[in-house]
Point group: C2
Chain length 156, copies 2
């Protein structure tokens, strides 16, 4: 989908702009993280980001990746995703609010992203019933992916 590619490019542009606005310099490592992040369709761990940057020739330190992610997270530009395997992952937050959640297959470990409009509105309505404002929400489903559940017992 071309629209999504455009959106990602916009996200990178917006993120860099926001960083400038907030008084941050244009460091190479951080821009590399932003650019790589903008190309992902789903979440990556800090280590994965660091490795991929290395493969691309940008030798970015892991600490810088964490620094950049932390900053971006603090500015509401990326969300942390915790799939329960002990590794935090990160993905861009689209300004339009478009986002997805994750389903983890407990048999094969595969992570599937899904969007669901009804779930989102259910979560919005939930806000009205809680004495707690909702800045962000995270939903993680555990179960068997289509592949594993069709092949009968889904070996652990």
């Amino acid at each position: 989908m071309a629209a999504s590619a455009t959106r990602r490019r916009d996200w990178a542009k917006g993120a860099n702009h926001a960083l400038r606005e907030a008084g941050h310099r244009a460091g190479g490592a951080r821009e590399a993280v932003v650019e790589l992040l903008s190309k992902q369709s789903c979440c990556l761990s800090a280590q994965e980001l660091c490795d991929r940057l290395g493969e691309q020739g940008s030798n970015v330190g892991l600490a810088s990746v964490y620094r950049a992610l932390d900053l971006l997270h603090g500015m509401g530009l990326v969300q942390r995703v915790d799939l329960g395997d002990g590794n935090l992952r990160f993905e861009p937050i689209q300004p339009g609010g478009e986002h997805h959640h994750h389903a983890v297959c407990d048999s094969c470990g595969r992570v599937t992203a899904f969007e669901d409009e009804r779930l989102e509105s259910a979560l919005e309505r939930l806000a009205g019933r809680l004495r707690h404002s909702i800045n962000a929400h995270e939903v993680v489903i555990h179960g068997s992916c289509g592949r594993c559940s069709s092949s009968s017992g889904a070996g652990a």
Copy 2:
């Protein structure tokens, strides 16, 4: 609520029974973990469980706590709760499906448990729309708790 106390006792009984059925011996450490877990209204970290057991006189090793939790989790008797603070927490899964989710205050760090029937049914309906079976789900809300949001701008 007495019903809930009964349910918790039932959970402990059921968990111990399931462990026997699965061919596990009745070890003191594991039983202590099960019993302590069954008394909690919300999730605890492994370290907290270990500390509390120590206070009660049961000198249970941290490794045994992890072992027990891992086993129980593998048997679908406890759920891991990840609130994003780097500590996994654990709580019993009630066989009846009654459970709650968690809202984290990004200002003060307080964790609030909530139950919401409508959210649960929304999640059940979601299952029908995904090519992914749902064995478990986890919802974490981030925002400001009632206390923090009432005191004006709720610091980042």
